[in-house]
Each structure stands twice: as C-alpha cells, then as structure tokens.
C-alpha cells in the first residue's frame, strides 16, 4: 500500500460523522422531543442504527421520506404531513427538525414551511414546539450539527423573565454518565441547573414495565424557556470560544453572563470548572468533590511510574481531544498526535493553551484528519497507546498497542454510554484504565509473566 500523495482530496476512513446526526443527538436530550429529519428516509435510518449501536437504547428519528418527485418540486407537503403524524402518533412536546443534504441542496425554506404549518393548525390544537436547524452535511461535522441544534433551541425557545437562581450548563457532546455526574455536582453546590441537552435518561434509560414512546427525561421545556432569566451560563468546549454559540445568544438577547471553559477533563480543566461554580454559588467545593480531587492527585502520584513518558495518539471530536490532551499532559503521558476530523481552525490554539508549560515538545495537531492519514503519522511517531473511539481499533490492532475507548462511537465494547470522562471522577477512571492498559500490555508481552507489577 502506498503513501497518499499530498495534497489529496478524498477521505479514507473518516474520523467524523455527519452534521444532522449531531443535531438529532442534541434534540434527543430535550423532554418530550422527537428528532425529525427533513430529507430521504435513509438518513434517519442510518443515523438511528448508528446511534443505537453505541447507546443500546431506542432512538426514534422521524423522517419526511422525500422521493424523487419531492426532490424536484420541493418537500414542503411531506414535511407538513410528517409533522402532523408525529404530533398525533407520538404525542411529542417538541419536534426538532434538522435538514439534510437533499433538502439543503434543493433549497427548501424550512422555517417558512413550519410557519405555514403552524398557521394552518392554529386554533385547532395546542401543538408541540417546533425547532428548526439547518444542518447540511457538506458544511461541518456532527459537532457543528450538535452545537447548531443547541443554539437553535435557545434562539427559538428561550425567553426573558423575572431573574431566577438557575445556572445554564451547556456541556457539549458528553456521555450520559458525564451528564449524571454534572447534575450531581450542581446538586452538591446547591445550584439549580438547566443542562442542555440532557440525554442522561433518554439515551441510557431503565428497563421498563410499560414502554413509553418518548422516554422520560431530557431538559424540561419549561426550563429551556426560562434560560433567558438565569443568573449565568457555563458553556464547555475551548473550540467554541469566540464563536456564535447558544451561550453567546443568551448574552446578546438576555444579558445572561457567560462563562466559557474547556471541557473539564483532567485536574486543571476540572479545577477551572469548580472554581467557576464556587464563584457562582459563593461556596467552596462540597466535601465529596474535594475528597475526590485529593484522591485523584494521590493516584496521579501512584500511577506516574507506570505511564511516565508513554507516547499517546488522541483522536476524535475536537473538544474531547483538547480535554484528553490536557489530562494526558498532566499525568506524564506524552501526546504526540492530536487529530480530529473536524475543521474548526481552533484546535491547535486550544491544545497549546492546555499543554503550555507541561510538555517538553508540543504534539502534532491536525484537523481534517481521516484514519488513513492518522495511520501514516503513526509510523514515524511510534505511539504506545491510542485514545479515541472504536474506529481506531484497526490501527491499534495493526500496531499491537492498547486502545483506550472514549467518546463516540463505541460499538466494539459494552457500556460506551456509561464511560465517564469529566471531572475528578472521570479523570480517576481514565487514569485507572490507562495505567492498567499499559500494565496489561507489559504483562502480556513479558516472557516471564510477572504477577506482581
């Protein structure tokens, strides 16, 4: 197999997913919501099957099921019929309509079609909220789709009102386990939080006696409407800094103060997060969390001898990569390549900001990467471990090094939705997994087979 000639244009084994998928995930984190894709039915089917293979939970996405005729004459009628059916059949309280390549290319004006639909329905029934977001896959990845949907929800639903004590938390695309932990942190700080989106229950639900068409949980609609009256917003993700995000909308429209932080992975980024919460709540970090921080630091000391100087390649969504890199740098692992299929243009600066002063030499940072290119880079870098989602498995196998599975999608291991990445507790769990992966490899490779390491 040859090396790719540069520059080249095709993508081989992508390290990104498509834009409407991110939007569907975000909509799924709202109470009573049904994600709806305006396009060919294949999009809904493909994204459902993909999301389900990670979360092992129902994931309903409705579709306007456009055919050739609609592609020529426009999909308005199908969209209206589809919205009507979702309203009557599923009892949705919110329908999140995301566009697809098809409807963006033919130029359907979705906000206008929805306005007309509402007018036609007016007076007859109290319909669900309908939020629309433009998500053509040819401009951006699933993460752009995710953030666009969160922003659209805030833009289209949040209102001004009498000031409340609530704090808005926009965590980005993290796991259900992460969201549950964030809720716990807010509870312990006694901060009433509005987490958007919150798919902790909708994408990691309980076994049920009676099936519910739309799973319980999600950010309450009433809470979203009150987001304009909250006392502050905390928005996570360094590549979002200076961007036109949901948090920014809340500043511009309702003067809600915005705190922008990195995704709190590892000690320092989590410290920054807790500091903001201390500041907002006016109280010190609650004891259980301070204790967790102490134990984490203790484990950093204990684990250091096993992993110091190990070389790691990190890949996946940009903000996840930034957070993981910050964490790796602290524990003495050397990130040698930070790669993402995303292309925000802000990855390098964010990595530099979180690794400054900790690394002897900065890692190679690459946006717009696919796995073929990552594979090429590996040959010279000779890493000791990979950190990322399931799609990197073949690289790990080829090189005979461990893969620490994080993020999305994870479809070759069990429990991907329960992986904890954030905070002191998440760092502890990641540290244990990394140390043990290195130990296991050492043990397996040893001819002696030491039993005491």
């Amino acid at each position: 197999m040859k090396r790719k000639s540069e520059p080249y244009v095709s993508t081989t084994n992508a390290c990104k997913l498509c834009k409407p998928l991110g939007a569907c995930l975000a909509f799924r984190g709202i109470e009573g919501a049904v994600p709806f894709l305006h396009g060919s039915q294949g999009c809904a089917t493909y994204m459902r099957r993909y999301i389900i293979s990670h979360f092992r939970e129902p994931m309903d996405i409705a579709s306007s099921s456009l055919g050739e005729k609609n592609a020529v004459y426009g999909g308005g009628a199908n969209l209206k019929q589809g919205l009507h059916n979702v309203m009557t059949k599923y009892g949705a309280r919110l329908i999140g309509v995301a566009t697809t390549c098809l409807t963006e290319t033919i130029g359907d004006d979705v906000p206008m079609i929805v306005r007309k639909f509402r007018q036609e329905k007016k007076g007859r029934e109290r319909g669900p909220e309908i939020v629309t977001v433009s998500t053509p896959s040819y401009a951006g990845t699933h993460m752009e789709g995710f953030h666009a949907a969160v922003k659209a929800v805030v833009e289209q639903l949040a209102r001004a009102g009498a000031a409340t004590e609530a704090v808005n938390l926009l965590p980005g695309f993290v796991s259900p386990a992460d969201i549950r932990y964030l809720r716990e942190i807010f509870r312990d700080f006694e901060i009433p939080g509005i987490i958007l989106p919150d798919f902790a229950d909708t994408l990691d639900g309980q076994a049920q006696v009676d099936y519910e068409k739309i799973p319980a949980g999600g950010t309450p609609l009433e809470a979203i409407k009150r987001m304009g009256a909250s006392r502050a917003t905390v928005e996570l993700g360094r590549t979002l800094f200076s961007q036109e995000t949901a948090g920014q909308v809340l500043v511009e429209r309702f003067d809600v103060p915005l705190h922008r932080l990195g995704t709190p992975i590892g000690l320092r980024e989590t410290d920054a997060f807790f500091q903001i919460l201390e500041q907002i709540s006016g109280r010190p970090a609650p004891e259980p969390h301070a204790g967790e921080r102490g134990r984490l630091l203790d484990a950093y000391v204990d684990g250091h001898k096993y992993i110091f100087g190990q070389k790691a390649v990190v890949y996946g969504e940009e903000d996840l990569v930034v957070g993981l890199t910050a964490f790796l740098a602290e524990i003495g692992v050397r990130p040698v390549l930070c790669a993402s299929g995303g292309g925000s243009g802000r990855l390098a600066a964010a990595i530099a900001a979180v690794t400054g002063g900790l690394l002897p030499e900065p890692p190679v940072v690459r946006e717009g990467m696919d796995f073929y290119e990552i594979s090429e880079e590996l040959e010279a870098l000779e890493p000791d471990l990979l950190i990322g989602h399931s799609k990197g498995y073949h690289l790990a196998r080829k090189r005979g090094i461990p893969l620490i599975r994080v993020g999305f999608p994870i479809h070759d291991r069990f429990g991907g939705q329960r992986i904890l990445h954030l905070g002191y507790r998440g760092a502890q769990s990641l540290l244990d997994r990394i140390v043990n992966a290195i130990l296991e490899k050492k043990q397996e490779d040893s001819r002696v087979g030491y039993g005491y390491l």
């Binding site: 080249y8 244009v9 081989t12 498509c18 294949g42 089917t45 579709s63 050739e68 019929q81 098809l102």
Partner: protein
C-alpha cells in the same frame, strides 16, 4: 416439519381474531393513512388453489411514521456491492452516507491469500463540501478515483451517488467512462443510487443488479473445472452464513463459481456466466441478475433456502435433482445423513423448552419468510410477519408478476433490455429435461412467496411502523420478535426479546446445519430468559413486606 400440509395451513393460528387486531391497528390513524395501511395489513387466507389475498407493498412510507426502511444508496452500496472484497467502493457525496455504511452490515469475507485484495475495512468518500455543491463535484470525484487507484491498484472501482449528486447534475457514469479509459487496467463504473430514488432500499438492489450485470458479468469466459457448477445469488455472508453454505457445497462436490455477493470477488462475478445453475436465496434483492443471466446466457434458476436444517437438506436435494446425476444425489444424501444427527440432538433438547411459543418477524425482503422455518423446527409458530422492502411477488408468489402495476417510483429505476448473447447463449436444459424436472418436484424460475407458507389467519404486515409494532406487542405479547437493531431496544423495553436478523446480534452463522444449531441455542437462550421477571423490584412486587415492627 419443513413446510406445512394444507390442513395445517388452514388451521387457525392462535385464539385471536386477526381482523379485530387489524382494526385495532388502524383505528388511531388519520383516515387517509388508515386507508393506505389497510391495504398493507392483510389477514392471510389460502384458498384451495393456494392463492392468497393481495397485499399492497413497495409503496412509499408515510412521512412521520417511524419505520424500518433505508434508502436506495443503502441497498446498492451497502447490501449488494458492499460484501465484495476487492472492488474499491467510492461514495460520492458528503461524509455521512459512506460512514454509516462502513462495515455496519457485518458481511464477512475471506481473501484467498496475502496477495488477494481486501478493501472491506476501508470507507472511501469524496467528502463533498459546499464548494462542490455549488460548482459541481466531478473534478473532485475524478481526483478521488485517481487517488484510490494510485494507492491500491484495484481491479475495479465503483462510484455510488448520494442525494446531492443527482440534484447538482454530476454525471457519475461519464466520469466512470473517462477514468476507466485513463487508467487502462481498472474497470470503473458508476451507480445512480441517490437516496431519494425508489421507495426503499429495494430500488438500490435493482440498480446494483443492473450495474453488476452490465459492467462485470461475462468479462471472463474461462471455464472452470467442475461437474456441477452453480452461482449462489442473494446470499450476503452475514455472520459467516456463506462459509457454512460453501462448506456444504464443497463436501457435496458442487463447484461454486460466484456468490452474489457474500464472500465474493470481482473475478468471480466476471466469470459467473459460465455456471450451469443459479440458486436464489433472497429473491427480492437479486432476482434481476438471475433473470438477465437466463435471458443472455441460458442459465436456469431455482429458489433455494439454506435457513433451517430441513430447508437446507431440501435445497441440496433440489440441486441434485437439477443435475440428474446419481453420483451427486448419493453425495448429497451422504452429507445430509452425516450432518443431521447433531442437528436433531440439539433440536429435540431445545424444542422441549420452546414448543408452543410464538414469534413475529418483520425483516428484510426474504428473511421474514426464511426464518419461519427455523422457528418451526423448534416448535415455535410465527403468527405475524412482514417485509421491510419486498414487493408483491415476495409475498404472494411470482404468479402475480404479469398483473403488477408499474408506478412512478418503479418507473424511475431502469429496466435493462437483455437479449440472448449471440456467441455465448447456451441453453443448459433440453425441452425434455425441463418437462421431466417440472413433473418432479423441481420448479424452475419459481418463487411461491411467503404467504402461501403461512397459516390462514396469521397477520401479514408490509413496511410495519414502530407504532404498529408497539400495538402488536400489547395485543399478542409474543415470545420473541425478529427484526433489526433499530427496533431492538424499543421492543426489549416492552419486555419482549428481539433477535436481530440483519446482523444476527453479532453472532452466527445461522445458515446450513451448523447455523441451525447456533440459532436453536440462541432462541432458547432468549425466549427462556428469566430476566424479565425481575422488572419489578421486590418492594414493588410485594408492598406488604415493606415495613413491619418486630413487636407487631
């Protein structure tokens, strides 16, 4: 055991009025939707001539009803062309379509040696960006083809169009022709399989069939050695099914020229017209190739089914009957006799625990039919079944073909006009032979469909929606449902186990004799699981035990 006798077929299913159930399914729909669905939900009834009621199928899904179907691209690239290991498949479009069809069907392949190309692990895409949507993507596509060629030197490159491609007017066929000429030693062909074409993935199967037949079949006339040469059509090697079937062919001395397309290679396709018999597994996805090969090269086809031990034995006997060679018959009987004891041992053991339980199957274009046999073998009855993307002939049998109306959606898909090849058309059977075979049990070019093999009074539901599935569970509480991953967790949240019959729950094989054993065990594990009875915590189950003082 294998198929039901007329008396069994007409005996009522279970103590439930299927007409009433149908009404219950329809009553919540708006009138227009209810009227449409009423034609797609049918209570089976088999008359004395074996004729079944008409069912509407292969029609558009109603927007907003969450269903099972995929798109034309999925049928073309994912299903039919996906399993071939040495064709570089380039998705021309934005990234999602390629990503979601990257190894997700779990079709396996076994390269013949280290030199044999295997691109199964790769997902090639032009990753279209806004610039290409505005100014056209042909230039980028050409570059992508050149890059794929430079990297891998494949024998062939397939280009698959996604939704935007047709809309912006990129001509994948013109690009393919140009690049084929430029590269010289690489066959390049395009598929206009935009997702919005047709009503389901079925359109994609047809487009794929046309492409494979036009661009590959017949390119290599070398005749391979072997007395009984066959092709296996509509077998996609999910979970290693094809490996098990190949093992049986080999043991019987049957030479497999090509499979369409499980564990297949480009060269196999090119050479497939030299076979003497085509076997069809999945009638829906592949019958076009079989018919075109019969017209052009004179190869007859028969319907087979390797899902179910009895069905496997029957299919092997059909092949033997076709070749009319005692040597083959003897060999086939020897293999069946060798394999059956192990099957029967497990079957009896499992049957004792599964007998009388009921299943529902909503899957595919043939699986909803084929898997009924496996369930029947362990004493389980399928009380409701339906396909995701099949046509009337798959339900009612090919006898309905002459009367089928061609609607606008089907008219969009090209019907190739095929004529006998002047140099290579060779009838494999004499008229005498045909008459003799037809007098026996062997029906050429015949598929009777699913409904004539289901009991009267069972429910047949085409393109089922999530809403209807939930209703059916409420009414019947089946012991198991066979469908796909999209349905799996909805159904399991309702307390009913779901067997994934597209990807086999990452298990398998289920074909042939060894596959039947795997399936019996798997179903036994699922329908006899005790987990569901723990849904309620003890304090919910017996509230009276909750709190009590010792002195009470």
């Amino acid at each position: 055991m294998d198929t039901l006798n007329p008396e069994e077929l007409s005996s009522p299913v279970i103590d439930i009025n299927a007409e009433e159930v149908k009404q219950e399914l329809l009553e919540k729909y708006p009138t227009k939707v209810a009227r449409k669905r009423a034609k797609q939900i049918v209570v089976n009834a088999i008359d004395l001539e074996g004729v079944v009621p008409e069912i509407q199928s292969n029609v558009r899904t109603t927007p907003g009803l969450i269903g099972q179907r995929g798109c034309t691209y999925a049928g073309c690239k994912g299903v039919v062309l996906g399993p071939t290991r040495d064709i570089v498949n380039i998705t021309h479009g934005p990234i999602g379509c390629g990503f979601y069809s990257w190894l997700t069907r779990r079709n396996q392949t076994k390269p013949k040696g280290p030199e044999d190309h295997n691109f199964m692990m790769y997902c090639f895409s032009t990753d279209m960006q806004e610039e290409q949507i505005v100014f056209g993507g042909e230039k980028k596509l050409k570059q992508a083809i050149q890059e794929a060629y430079d990297l891998f030197q494949p024998k062939a490159i397939g280009i698959f169009a996604t939704c935007p491609v047709g809309l912006i007017g990129d001509d994948v066929h013109a690009v393919a022709r140009e690049m084929k000429e430029k590269l010289g030693d690489c066959n390049v062909f395009g598929f206009s399989c935009e997702g919005y074409k047709g009503v389901s993935q079925s359109a994609g199967h047809h487009i794929a069939n046309n492409g494979v037949f036009t661009h590959i079949v017949g390119l290599d006339d070398k005749v391979r050695e072997g007395k009984y040469k066959i092709n296996m059509l509509g077998e996609y090697n999910i979970g290693g099914d094809a490996f098990e079937i190949e093992r049986l062919f080999e043991d019987c001395g049957i030479t497999l020229i090509s499979t369409f397309s499980g564990n297949s290679s480009y060269d196999n396709f090119a050479n497939s017209h030299t076979a003497d018999l085509n076997l069809i597994m999945c009638h829906r996805s592949i019958n076009y190739v079989a018919e075109m090969m019969e017209t052009k090269f004179g190869i007859p086809w028969i319907k087979v089914n390797f899902i179910g031990a009895e069905a496997t034995a029957k299919s092997l006997r059909k092949i033997a009957a076709y070749f009319e060679d005692p040597e083959l018959t003897e060999k086939v009987e020897e293999v069946i006799a060798r394999e059956m004891p192990a099957v029967e041992k497990v079957r009896e053991e499992v049957k004792a625990r599964c007998r009388g339980k009921v299943a529902m199957l909503f899957v595919g274009g043939s699986r909803a039919h084929h898997y009924q046999e496996l369930f029947r073998e362990i004493g389980m009855e399928t009380i409701a079944a339906g396909y995701e993307f099949a046509h009337r002939d798959d339900y009612e049998g090919r006898r309905v073909l002459p009367g089928l109306k061609v609607d606008a959606d089907s008219r969009n898909i090209e019907e190739l006009h095929v004529e006998p090849d002047p140099g290579r058309f060779r009838p494999r059977l004499s008229p005498d032979q045909i008459a003799r075979l037809e007098q026996g049990d062997l029906k050429l070019s015949e598929y009777q469909g699913m409904m004539p093999e289901m009991k009267s009074g069972s429910l047949v539901i085409d393109d089922i929606s999530q809403f209807e599935t939930e209703k059916l569970i409420e009414i019947f509480r089946p012991d198991i449902i066979g469908a796909g991953i999209k349905e799996k967790y909805v159904i399991q949240k309702s307390g009913v186990p779901l067997k994934q019959l597209h990807s086999y729950d990452y298990s398998g094989p289920y074909a042939g004799f060894k596959g039947a054993i795997n399936f019996y065990r798997e179903i036994d594990r699922m329908v006899n699981s005790k987990v569901w009875k723990y849904l309620k915590a003890p304090w919910q189950e017996h509230p009276e035990l909750a709190a009590k003082y010792v002195w009470e």
